[in-house]
């Protein structure tokens, strides 16, 4: 695809670059010194959120998530299977998709549920007929209540967390960072990355927030210590 598409076929490329270059001969009003790499990664644990300064990172994460109307459960690592089972039954989830890299012990005991284990091969069809999805989480941001999925084996491909209506996300406390500035020291972008902050929402009609338009309308976060 890229082969039969040659740069030399594109006179506009040269034209645009020439226009840009001649435009840059006029120096901007405040001669901006070269500031490449201005951004620095925040030191982990730097308190940034004024209202939450006194909160531990994990507690802050929980508060902000709840503010988004996400349901939050706090458990020990050993408590994950029980928490998952409780959510599945209380939400009446009848069918479930999980990425193939997810710890099987977490969902093996969920009882009478139709289960699809997705290894990412094959077309992404049929997921819209499935009630719920369980994933892990590479990284979570406390200050913004953000779950970061970066295509690791326990997170799976993007389609599985998009079409089902319930997303159950298991976050281990060591994955939680304080602020956005630390994000890219934790994850890479060689796979697609999705940042999820609360359930899908719109405020398009009279600015009234409606939870749930196209993505999962229910977000359940299990924080495991």
């Amino acid at each position: 695809m890229a082969n039969n598409h040659l740069r030399s076929d594109q006179p506009s490329r040269t034209k645009i670059l020439n226009l840009v270059r001649s435009g840059l001969l006029n120096k901007a009003m405040d001669p901006g010194s070269s500031m490449a790499g201005v951004a620095t990664r925040g030191a982990p644990g730097t308190p940034l959120w004024i209202a939450g300064h006194d909160l531990e990172t994990v507690d802050l994460f929980e508060e902000v998530l709840k503010d988004y109307k996400a349901r939050v459960l706090r458990v020990d690592i050993e408590g994950i299977p029980a928490a998952v089972a409780e959510v599945i039954s209380s939400c009446h989830i009848k069918s479930l998709v999980v990425p193939s890299g997810l710890d099987r012990t977490w969902y093996e005991g969920v009882g009478q549920v139709q289960l699809v284990v997705d290894d990412g091969s094959g077309p992404a069809v049929g997921f819209e007929k499935i009630d719920g999805v369980i994933t892990g989480c590479s990284c979570a941001i406390a200050e913004t209540g953000t779950l970061v999925l970066s295509g690791r084996p326990d997170e799976g491909r993007r389609a599985i967390t998009l079409l089902p209506d319930f997303h159950i996300c298991i976050v281990k406390t060591e994955a939680i960072i304080r602020g956005v500035s630390e994000l890219f020291s934790r994850i890479g972008v060689s796979n697609p990355v999705t940042l999820i902050s609360g359930p899908s929402a719109t405020s398009d009609i009279e600015l009234k927030r409606v939870e749930g338009v196209h993505g999962p309308r229910n977000l359940i976060v299990v924080i495991a210590t």
Binding site: L19, G23, A36, A39, F184, V189, V193, G198, I205, L207
Partner: protein, 476 residues
């Protein structure tokens, strides 16, 4: 001073003074706008106050964007190489027409007649939907507000909440006549959102091609970033086989760490959230996850000319957050349609005249009180008032002064340059006050001066001027 624009527009009756008039008289629209802008302003204020390093973030935002613009040629080449390196195809478009052609020919190559679209101002600027439809391709807008605007054959009135000018019952009626024919809907926003979910889901699952804009393109890695709330963006970016993203040449960010700065600045400034519900990042094509083909269209469309203007250049720092709209007293009263451009509000008042240079956009630099509220909230610190004043000067020096205007200024300068002539003018006006006040009672002055009062109120002329009163009461 306002006379100059008015006389400039004489006869043509185009430009902001005329387009804003019906909006200002629409009290329902003004009420909708006031409550909407007030609500977003307050939300923004709350989440910005949470960040004690907010000003530092703004400085970083400004520096990063200025760095990119001041070295745009090398960043463009770098981005191109990175995108190609991860399996994307880069197309260059000199103007909107060329960008439209590229998109349509890509759609045709795949033999499709339908595409799904993620809300994108850049494609609105191109008039892409109309172009595609003339070429036999239907583009479905999938953002709720854009869908509403598309169904109503209307135009967006706000960058972020394009249907801000419509209330819930208007939207209910619209849906019942279009996507939910035969279903009784209530005007509860939850019900209306559900109706759009049902309608669009089929489109997402069947579409082969998606078209999106670009919030940020990271030069270092070729990563594209799209931020959104509803999940329609994720649908479009994930499910179709082919993805075409269109960006202006200025949308580049050097590194991922620089991107993190904007992931803090944008949601707080824009929707007043700590983070928007969904942010998608992708780098070219990823086997087994998402589109098999990725095309990036990089469009100039006169941005290089904006870049060449030393004062105007900063306009291109904009990240389209719309914070400046929500604080603008002019926008709050006139609404987005009055700007007669894809880009309304303070950013529109500086961007539209530079990009489009149309007769109507030339009046936009005057659609401001120069109060500076926009500059204060702008997350990348664009000095909007400075650019406004610069553009006023530009419009006027580029031969837009009519002879009647020169005449007016000659009189004005003669009067203002002499104390006694000024005194005489004041006395004359006071003497004519019965006549003038009579006209004002009917709402407008006669002749050329009437153009000034068309959208403004003149205070009643007092019996004597301050100077006269001062002299009399001091007994001099």
């Amino acid at each position: 001073m306002v006379w100059m624009v008015l006389s400039d527009m004489a006869g043509s009756r185009v430009g902001f003074p005329y387009t804003s008039l019906p909006r200002i008289e629409d009290s329902q629209l003004r009420a909708n706008l006031r409550s909407a802008t007030t609500a977003i302003r307050e939300k923004r204020g709350r989440v910005v106050a949470e960040k004690d390093d907010w000003e530092e973030l703004r400085l970083k935002g400004e520096q990063i964007r200025a760095e990119v613009l001041n070295n745009l040629d090398s960043y463009l080449v770098k981005l191109e190489a990175s995108v190609e390196n991860v399996g994307g195809v880069v197309h260059w478009a000199g103007d909107a027409g060329e960008a439209n052609e590229i998109v349509l020919s890509l759609v045709r190559q795949h033999g499709e007649s339908e595409v799904v679209k993620v809300k994108s101002l850049t494609t609105d600027e191109m008039g892409l939907n109309e172009y595609l439809s003339q070429g036999g391709v239907m583009a479905y807008e999938t953002d709720l507000a854009e869908l509403i605007v598309q169904l109503a054959h209307d135009k967006p009135s706000h960058i972020l909440v394009p249907a801000i000018h419509m209330n819930r019952s208007e939207i209910r009626d619209l849906f019942q006549g279009t996507i939910s024919k035969g279903t009784a809907l209530s005007d509860d926003p939850t019900v209306l959102a559900e109706a759009s979910r049902l309608y669009l889901r089929q489109k997402f699952l069947s579409a082969k091609i998606a078209i999106s804009g670009v919030n940020f393109a990271v030069a270092e890695t070729g990563t594209i970033c799209v931020v959104e709330s509803e999940g329609n963006g994720r649908m479009c970016l994930t499910l179709p086989k082919v993805l075409i993203s269109v960006m202006g040449i200025e949308k580049i960010i050097p590194t991922l760490d620089d991107l993190a700065v904007f992931l803090e600045l944008l949601p707080r400034s824009s929707t007043g959230e700590r983070m928007n519900p969904y942010t998608s990042l992708w780098s070219g094509v990823h086997k087994g996850d998402g589109p098999e083909e990725f095309h990036l269209v990089i469009m100039d469309n006169r941005r290089s000319a904006v870049l060449a203007d030393p004062v105007g250049r900063q306009t291109l720092q904009c990240i389209r957050c719309s914070a400046c709209l929500n604080v603008c007293p002019v926008y709050e009263r006139s609404g987005g349609h009055a700007y007669d451009s894809v880009y309304p509000g303070p950013i529109g008042a500086i961007l539209s005249p530079q990009l489009f240079g149309t007769e109507s956009s030339k009046s936009l630099p005057w659609a401001s009180t120069l109060c500076g509220a926009c500059y204060e909230v702008c997350p990348v610190r664009i000095n909007i008032p400075q650019v406004l004043v610069h553009l006023r000067e530009k419009v006027l020096t580029e031969g837009h002064r009519s002879s009647s205007e020169r005449f007016q200024f000659a009189i004005l300068s003669a009067v203002l340059s002499s104390g006694s002539r000024f005194d005489l003018a004041l006395r004359t006006i006071s003497r004519l006050r019965f006549l003038i006040n009579r006209f004002l009672a009917f709402g407008s002055l006669p002749g050329v001066a009437g153009k000034w009062t068309v959208a403004r109120e003149l205070p009643e002329i007092p019996k004597e001027s301050f100077r006269v009163w001062w002299r009399r009461s001091r007994g001099q």
